[in-house]
C-alpha cells in the first residue's frame, strides 16, 4: 500500500548520508605552498576557512591586508600592510586619503566582517571606516563618493555615497575597535564599536566592494584585523542566525502541490539510485514496499553487482573476464575503457590483489577477497584526491559509501562491499528510513491529546527518520563481522611477494605497453591514456611503491572511479542513464550554488549541499 505521508525535507536524502566529497571543489581553499607559514598566517587561514567555508579562493580570494597599490600617496602602510598611518599635511578635506584592501568581498561569504583598531586619533580624529568599489577616488574619505560607504569617528555619522552624513552612532577615538559587517544576503551593512552592533544600514547593493579606511589629519594610525586575531564583535553568532534563517527557508520551501507527488518522486530517485549501484536485494525490497516498477531485469542488476564487487575487491582480471562474458561486445566497442581496466589490473597486480597474481602469491585468498574497508575519514586527503575527478564521477563513487552508514557506522563506510551478493538483507533497512512514519509503533505510548502550547517550539526531527535510525541501531551488524582489515602495511610486498607473480606482472606490463601502442595507431594520441600508463609503470621505480609519490594508485579508493565508469558503460548499452537522477540532482544543486556565488547572491554561503547529505 503506498504511503502518502509527506516527508520532512531532512529525510529526503537520508539514505545517502555519508556522501561528502562531492562538493569539495566548493570548499577548496588555496593552501600556500610555503611551508614556513607563520602562526599568525595559519590562524588567519583557519579563521577565514571557518567563517567563509563556501568561498572558493582560487576564484575569489579574500581580503587579507591593505593594498600597497590601491591607496592615496598620503597613506603609509606597515606591519605586513595591516597598519595604516597618515602622512599628508592634513590641512583641509582635500588632504583626505584612503586605502582599499587587496581584494573585494566575495559574495560567497554570505556575511563578511572586518575590524579596525584606532591606535591613535592623531590631531583631529577624522577617520572613516567602510567600503568602496574599485576606482573610487582615494583622495577622499570612504562614503563621500558614489559606491562608497563609511562611518566617521569625529561626528559618528554614516556617509552613503554623499558628502553629507546622517547621524548614525557614537563618535570613536583612540583605543576603540570599529567593525564593519556586510550582509550580502539582504544587502545591508552595520558597524560595531567595541563589540556592540550600532544598527543596520540600508542596502549597499553594489557588488565587489572592498574594505576601505580613510584618514585625514596627521598622527592618525589604525590597525586592521581581517581575521588575523579573534574579533571583538561576535560575528560567528550573527552568522549562525543567518545560517539558520537560510536553512529554515530551504526547509520550508514548498514542494509538490499534489499530495504524494513529491514523495513518489523521492521514492523513484531512491529506487533508481539503488538499481544504478546494483543493490539488488535492497532495490527489490524498496520497490516492493513503495509499489514501484524496476526498469531493469533483476538478473541484469545482479550481473552488474557481481562485476562491481570484483572491481572493488581488486580482482580486475576476473572483472574483465566476467564483463566480456556477460556483455560480449562492450569492451570491444570501448577500447579506452578496456585499456583503463587493464591498467587498473596492472596496478592490482603490483598490489598483489589481482586474481592472476593472487593464485601465484602467498596471501590467503580470503583476505584478498575482502574489500579493504579500513576506517577512513571522509575529509582525508586521499578521498579529496579522488574527488578531483569530474564531479559527478566523484559523487558516484562515494555515494556507494553513503547507504550503509545508516546502518553500520561511518567508521567503516565501505563495509557492505564485503557482503556476499546473496545477502538480501544488506540494505533492507533503508526503506524504513524513508517510509518509517508508517510503521511508527504507538503501542508503548499512552495516546493522549496533543498539547496546546502557544509558544512551545516543537522538535524538528521527523519521526520517520528517527524511527528508521533507531531500528538500525538495534539490528545486528552482520556486515562488519564479515569484514577483514587489510594486512598491515609492513607486510606488503610487490605482487604479494611471489617471484612468479612478479614475472607475470612484468609480462602483463609488456602486453599493456603494446596495447597502448596499438591503441595510438588505431585511435590517435590520447594523453589521458598515456599518463595513466606512465603513472602505473612508475610504481615499479620504487622499492616500496605503497609509500612512493605515485603510491596513491594502490589505494583501494582508486578502484571506485574505475568501477563507476565500467558500471556506467554497461548501463549505457542497456539504454539506461549513465548517472542516477539522485546524483544529477545533487550535482545540479552544487552547480547552482557556484553560479549564485559568481552572480553575487550571498545566500549560497549557508546552503552547502553537504549539509543536506549528512
Amino acid at each position: 500500500k503506498p504511503v502518502s505521508l509527506p516527508l520532512h525535507p531532512k529525510t529526503r536524502v537520508a539514505v545517502m548520508s555519508g556522501q561528502s566529497s562531492g562538493c569539495g571543489f566548493l570548499m577548496s581553499v588555496v593552501v600556500h605552498g610555503d611551508s614556513t607559514l607563520n602562526e599568525q598566517e595559519k590562524e588567519l587561514n583557519q579563521r577565514l576557512r571557518r567563517l567563509y567555508p563556501a568561498v572558493n579562493e582560487s576564484e575569489t580570494p579574500l581580503p587579507r591586508s591593505w593594498s600597497p597599490k590601491d591607496k592615496f600617496s598620503y597613506i603609509g602602510l606597515s606591519q605586513n600592510n595591516l597598519r595604516v598611518h597618515y602622512k599628508g599635511h592634513g590641512k583641509t578635506p582635500k588632504d583626505a586619503a584612503s586605502v582599499r584592501a587587496t581584494h573585494p568581498i566575495p559574495a560567497a561569504c554570505g556575511v563578511y566582517y572586518f575590524e579596525v583598531k584606532i591606535i591613535s586619533k592623531g590631531r583631529d580624529g577624522y577617520m572613516g571606516i567602510g567600503l568602496s568599489a574599485q576606482g573610487v577616488n582615494m583622495n577622499r574619505l570612504p562614503g563621500w563618493d558614489k559606491h562608497s560607504y563609511g562611518y566617521h569617528g569625529d561626528d559618528g555619522h554614516s556617509f552613503c555615497s554623499s558628502g553629507t552624513g546622517q547621524p548614525y552612532g557614537p563618535t570613536f577615538t583612540t583605543g576603540d575597535v570599529i567593525g564593519c559587517c556586510v550582509n550580502l544576503i539582504n544587502n545591508t551593512c552595520f558597524y560595531t564599536k567595541n563589540g556592540h552592533s550600532l544598527g543596520r544600514k540600508k542596502s549597499n547593493d553594489w557588488p565587489n566592494l572592498y574594505p576601505t579606511v580613510g584618514l585625514q589629519t596627521p598622527g592618525e594610525v589604525v590597525d586592521a584585523n581581517f581575521g588575523q586575531h579573534p574579533f571583538v564583535f561576535d560575528i560567528e553568532d550573527y552568522m549562525r542566525e543567518w545560517r539558520t534563517k537560510i536553512q529554515a527557508q530551504i526547509d520550508r520551501f514548498p514542494i509538490g502541490e499534489r499530495e504524494g507527488e513529491w514523495q513518489s518522486m523521492i521514492q523513484k530517485m531512491v529506487a533508481s539510485y539503488l538499481v544504478h549501484h546494483s543493490y539488488c536485494a535492497t532495490a527489490e525490497a524498496f520497490a516492493k514496499t513503495t509499489d514501484q516498477a524496476v526498469h531493469e531485469e533483476l538478473a541484469s542488476i545482479k550481473n552488474r553487482q557481481k562485476i562491481q564487487k570484483l572491481v572493488l575487491s581488486g580482482r580486475m582480471g576476473e572483472a574483465i573476464e566476467t564483463t566480456q562474458q556477460l556483455y560480449p561486445n562492450l569492451l570491444e566497442r570501448n577500447p579506452d575503457l578496456l585499456f583503463m581496466l587493464k591498467v587498473r589490473q596492472f596496478i592490482e597486480m603490483v598490489n598483489g590483489t589481482d586474481s592472476e597474481v593472487r593464485c601465484l602469491g602467498g596471501r590467503s585468498p580470503k583476505s584478498q577477497d575482502s574489500y579493504p574497508g579500513s576506517p577512513r575519514s571522509f575529509s582525508s586527503p586521499s578521498h579529496k584526491a579522488s574527488s578531483s575527478q569530474p564531479y559527478l564521477t566523484g559523487f558516484d563513487s562515494s555515494c556507494c559509501n553513503g547507504v550503509t552508514s545508516n546502518k553500520s557506522h561511518s567508521s567503516s563506510p565501505h563495509s557492505h562491499k564485503a557482503c556476499p551478493p546473496s545477502s538480501g538483507s544488506t540494505l533492507i533497512s533503508s526503506d524504513i528510513s524513508v517510509n518509517g512514519s508508517r510503521q511508527q509503533p504507538l503501542t508503548s505510548d499512552v495516546d493522549m491529546e496533543v498539547d496546546h502550547f502557544t509558544n512551545g517550539v516543537t522538535e524538528s526531527s521527523s519521526n520517520g527518520f528517527l524511527n528508521g535510525t533507531s531500528k538500525h541501531a538495534t539490528e545486528p551488524d552482520d556486515c562488519d563481522a564479515d569484514m577483514e582489515v587489510e594486512s598491515a602495511q609492513s607486510k606488503r610486498q610487490l605482487c604479494g611477494g611471489s617471484q612468479a607473480a612478479i614475472e607475470r606482472m612484468i609480462h602483463f606490463g609488456r602486453e599493456l605497453q603494446s596495447m597502448s601502442e596499438h591503441l595510438r595507431r588505431e585511435c590517435g594520441k590520447n594523453s589521458a591514456n598515456k599518463k595513466m600508463l606512465k603513472d602505473a609503470f612508475s610504481l615499479l621505480a620504487y622499492s616500496d611503491p605503497w609509500n612512493s609519490p605515485v603510491g596513491y594508485q594502490l589505494d583501494s579508493i582508486q578502484r571506485e572511479p574505475v568501477c563507476s565508469t565500467l558500471n556506467s558503460a554497461i548501463l549505457e548499452t542497456h539504454n539506461l542513464p549513465k548517472q542516477p537522477p539522485l546524483a544529477q540532482a545533487v550535482g545540479q544543486a552544487a552547480q547552482c550554488l557556484a553560479i549564485m556565488a559568481r552572480s553575487g547572491s550571498g545566500s549560497c554561503a549557508f546552503a552547502s549541499v553537504d549539509d543536506y547529505l549528512h
Binding site: 563589540g195 556592540h196 550600532l198 543596520r200 553568532d237 539558520t244 499512552v446 491529546e449 517550539v457
Partner: protein
C-alpha cells in the same frame, strides 16, 4: 430553527450521559472501555468536556483513579481523560479544582507505576499552568515538593511536566525559598543539557523564576557546574542567535536576574557583550509583539542601576529610535480588512507602550546625553503626555516613570517639559491615583517645582498646595517625602502669598507631626521647608508673628533630642533665619534657655554646628538694626564675646572669619 437547536443539545446531552453511565458499570472491563471511549470523544471537543463535567463525570473518574482495585490501565486512562478535560476552558479547570482533583493526583504520584505517574503529572501540569488555579495548592502538603524532586530523575516526561509546574507555581519569594531548600537548583541544573528541547526550555524557565530578585539563589547559581561548564556559560550558549527566540529570551532573563541580584558584575562579558545585545535584539521589529514587550522590560530592569550599561544600550542597534516603533500599534497597516491582526495589535498595544516607557525611563535615568536623545525622538513628549492620561494604569505608571527620569534634566525642564505643558496631565494624574502612580507623579512634580523650571508658575496657579499637603499625611513614607519635598521646592524664594498659603494649608499641627516623623528624610525636608519659608525679613516676621511660639517650641525640641548632626545643623540654620527678622529676633533674645543652647553649639565638636550657631549670633548682634545695642550688651553679659574671641582663633578658616565678622559688630 430554535426547535432543532434544542433538539441537538438534548441529543448531545444524551450521548454524554451515556458515557457517564458507563463509568458505573459493574464489569471493570466495560468501565475501562467506557473510559477509553470517553477519551476519544472529548479530544478537542470543548462542548463534550463541559457536558461531561456538568453530568458529574469528574468525581467518578477521580474515584476510579484513586481505587487501587481499579487496575493500572483504568487508573491511567482516568488520569488521561481528566487531563483532556483540563485542556478545555477555564471553567473546566475551576470545576476540576473544586472537585479536589489536585490532592487526588498528587496522591497518585506515590504509585510505583511510571506510566500512571506521567499521566497524573501531565494532568497536574495542565491544571497548574492555568491562571485560575491557586498556586498555593502545590505547597499545602510539605511532602509534595521533595517527592516531585525525586521524580525528576524518572523520565523526560516527568522532567518536562514537573519543571513546568515549578516555573508556573513559583510566584513569591516564599515559593523560591521552598523550592531552593529542596535542592531545586541541583535537581534542575542537569536538565539544561537534556536532549529534549521541552525539558531544556522548562528547566531554563525554572531558573528564571527562581533567580528573580533572589540573592541566595543567584549566588548559588554562579557556582553551579553543568557537565563541567559554569551555568552562566550554559545560559550564554542558550542565547546564541540560532537558538529559538523563546530560549534566547529566557536565558537572557536568567542572566539579568542573576546580575541584578548581585551575583554577576555588570561589566562581565556575559552581561555586557551577550545579555545586553540579546535583549536589544528582542526589541527589534523582527520579533513577535510579546517578545518585544518581554525584551524591553527585561532590558529596562537590567540597565536600571548602571549608567555604563545605559550608555551601551543607548548606542546599540539604534535602540532609542527602535522603541519609537512600539507606539505605532495598532498600525495603519492592520486595517479593518485584517480583523485578526487588528485584534492582536490592540491587545498588545498597551503592553508595548508601557514597556517602551519603562525602557526609556531606565535609559535616561542618569545620562544627560541619552535624555536628550530620547526627547529628540519623534513625538516623544507628545507620547508621554498622552500616555499620562491613558486608560491603562500600567501605561500611566510607565509614562510617569519615564517623565520622572527625564525630569532630572535641567535642560529638559527648561525646554521640552515647558513646551509640552507636561504639568497639566501630571496634575490630573495626581488626582485619585493609586500609590505607585502617586509616588512617581509627585516625585516628578518635585522636579517641576524647582526654581528654574518654567512650569513652576502654572503649577502653583493650579492649586497644587492642598494636594501636596494631603500627601504629607499619607501612610507611605515615600509619599510624605515627595509631598514635603515638593512644598520645600515650592517655598524656595516664593512670594509671601504662597508661603502663607503653604503654612495655612499645612497647619502648624501637621508641621510638628512631620518634625517628629520616624523617617529621617521627611524630617530633613520639613526643616528645609521651614528654612525656605523663613527667608527674607518681612516673611520671617510675618510667619513668626503668627506661628512664632510653636516654631520656637519645635526648634527647642529638636535641639534637645538625640538627632543627627545634619538635622541639628538645619535647625540652627532655621534659628539663624529667625534671628534675621526684625521682630522675630525678640523670640530668641527673650528666651535665655535658647541663648544658652546657641552658646553650647558654638563650642560643639562639629564645625558645621559651630558655624550655624555663630551665624545665628552674628545676625542677632548686627549693627545697623534697631535695638542692636541692647542685644549686644545682653549677649556680652552672657559671655558670648569670649566665645567669639575664642572662635576667631579657630583652625577652620570659615569659622574664624565668621567669628571675626561678628566681633567687629561690637567695635563699630
Amino acid at each position: 430553527g430554535s426547535c432543532i437547536l434544542s433538539f441537538d443539545i438534548n441529543e448531545v446531552t444524551a450521548t454524554s450521559r451515556h458515557y457517564v453511565d458507563r463509568l458505573f458499570d459493574p464489569d471493570p472491563q466495560k468501565v475501562l472501555q467506557g473510559v477509553i471511549d470517553m477519551k476519544n470523544a472529548v479530544i478537542g471537543n470543548n462542548k463534550q468536556k463541559a457536558n461531561l463535567i456538568v453530568l458529574g463525570a469528574v468525581p467518578r473518574l477521580l474515584y476510579l483513579l484513586q481505587q487501587s482495585s481499579s487496575g493500572l490501565d483504568l487508573r491511567t486512562e482516568c488520569a488521561v481523560v481528566l487531563g483532556s478535560l483540563a485542556m478545555g476552558t477555564e471553567n473546566n479547570i475551576k470545576s476540576l479544582v473544586d472537585c479536589h482533583i489536585i490532592p487526588a493526583l498528587l496522591q497518585g504520584l506515590l504509585s510505583p507505576e511510571l506510566i500512571f505517574i506521567e499521566a497524573c503529572l501531565r494532568c497536574l501540569r495542565t491544571v497548574f499552568i492555568s491562571p485560575v488555579t491557586p498556586v498555593q495548592l502545590l505547597y499545602t502538603d510539605p511532602t509534595v515538593i521533595p517527592h516531585l524532586m525525586s521524580l525528576l530523575s524518572s523520565s523526560q516526561k516527568t522532567q518536562e511536566y514537573i519543571t513546568q509546574i515549578f516555573s508556573h507555581c513559583c510566584k513569591t519569594s516564599d515559593h523560591q525559598t521552598v523550592l531552593f531548600n529542596h535542592s531545586a537548583v541541583q535537581h534542575i541544573a542537569p536538565l539544561l543539557i537534556s536532549p529534549s528541547y521541552k525539558v531544556r526550555m522548562q528547566a531554563l524557565k525554572c531558573f528564571s523564576v527562581l533567580a528573580y530578585e533572589n540573592t541566595q539563589v543567584s549566588m548559588t547559581l554562579v557556582n553551579v557546574l553543568v557537565d563541567g561548564e559554569p551555568l552562566s556559560q550554559v545560559f550564554v550558549r542558550m542565547m546564541q542567535r540560532d537558538q529559538p527566540v523563546e530560549m534566547q529570551l529566557t536565558a537572557a532573563k536568567c542572566l539579568t536576574f542573576m546580575c541584578r541580584a548581585g551575583a554577576i558584575q555588570t561589566e562581565e562579558s556575559c552581561i555586557v557583550l551577550k545579555t545586553l545585545p540579546c535583549l536589544v535584539r528582542m526589541c527589534s521589529k523582527d520579533h513577535l509583539l510579546e517578545e518585544r514587550v518581554d525584551g524591553a522590560e527585561t532590558l529596562a530592569y537590567l540597565i536600571e542601576p548602571d549608567v555604563e550599561l545605559q550608555r551601551i544600550a543607548s548606542t546599540t542597534d539604534h535602540l532609542v529610535a527602535m522603541l519609537a516603533d512600539y507606539f505605532k500599534y495598532p498600525s495603519s497597516v492592520s486595517a479593518i480588512t485584517d480583523i485578526k491582526r487588528l485584534d492582536h495589535d490592540l491587545k498588545h498595544a498597551h503592553e508595548l507602550r508601557q514597556a517602551a516607557f519603562k525602557l526609556y525611563a531606565s535609559l535616561g535615568s542618569n545620562d544627560e546625553d541619552i535624555r536628550k536623545k530620547i526627547t529628540d525622538t519623534e513625538n516623544m513628549m507628545d507620547r508621554i503626555v498622552s500616555g499620562l492620561s491613558e486608560s491603562s494604569i500600567k501605561v500611566r505608571l510607565a509614562a510617569v516613570r519615564c517623565l520622572h527620569s527625564l525630569s532630572r534634566s535641567v535642560q529638559q525642564l527648561r525646554t521640552s517639559f515647558h513646551d509640552h505643558a507636561v504639568w497639566k496631565p501630571l496634575m490630573k494624574l495626581l488626582q485619585n491615583a493609586p500609590d505607585d502612580v502617586l509616588i512617581m507623579a509627585s516625585s516628578t512634580l518635585c522636579n517641576l517645582l524647582l526654581e528654574f523650571s518654567p512650569s513652576k508658575e502654572p503649577i502653583l496657579e493650579s492649586g497644587v498646595i492642598e494636594l501636596l499637603c494631603s500627601l504629607t499625611q499619607s501612610d507611605s513614607p515615600a509619599l510624605r517625602i515627595n509631598g514635603i519635598w515638593a512644598l520645600m521646592n515650592m517655598a524656595f524664594q516664593a512670594d509671601q502669598k504662597v508661603k502663607v498659603e503653604i503654612v495655612g494649608c499645612l497647619g502648624t499641627e501637621q508641621l510638628f507631626r512631620l518634625l517628629s516623623d520616624p523617617d529621617n528624610s521627611v524630617l530633613m525636608k520639613t526643616l528645609g521647608l521651614l528654612r525656605n519659608l523663613l527667608s527674607t525679613r518681612p516673611h520671617i516676621d510675618q510667619i513668626m508673628s503668627s506661628h512664632g511660639k510653636q516654631i520656637m517650641q519645635a526648634v527647642t525640641l529638636i535641639l534637645e533630642a538625640e538627632q543627627s548632626i545634619e538635622v541639628k545643623e538645619q535647625t540652627l540654620c532655621i534659628l539663624a533665619n529667625i534671628a534675621d527678622g526684625n521682630t522675630a529676633k525678640d523670640l530668641i533674645m527673650t528666651n535665655d534657655d535658647m541663648l544658652q543652647k546657641i552658646k553650647y553649639y558654638m563650642s560643639h565638636s562639629s564645625v558645621k554646628l559651630q558655624l550655624a550657631a555663630t551665624f545665628c549670633i552674628s545676625n542677632l548682634i548686627w549693627n545697623e538694626e534697631d535695638g542692636s545695642q541692647e542685644r549686644q550688651d545682653k549677649l556680652r553679659e552672657l559671655g558670648f564675646v569670649d566665645v567669639l574671641h575664642k572662635l576667631s582663633q579657630a583652625s577652620d578658616p570659615n569659622l574664624s572669619d565668621r567669628a571675626k565678622t561678628a566681633m567687629q559688630q561690637y567695635l563699630a
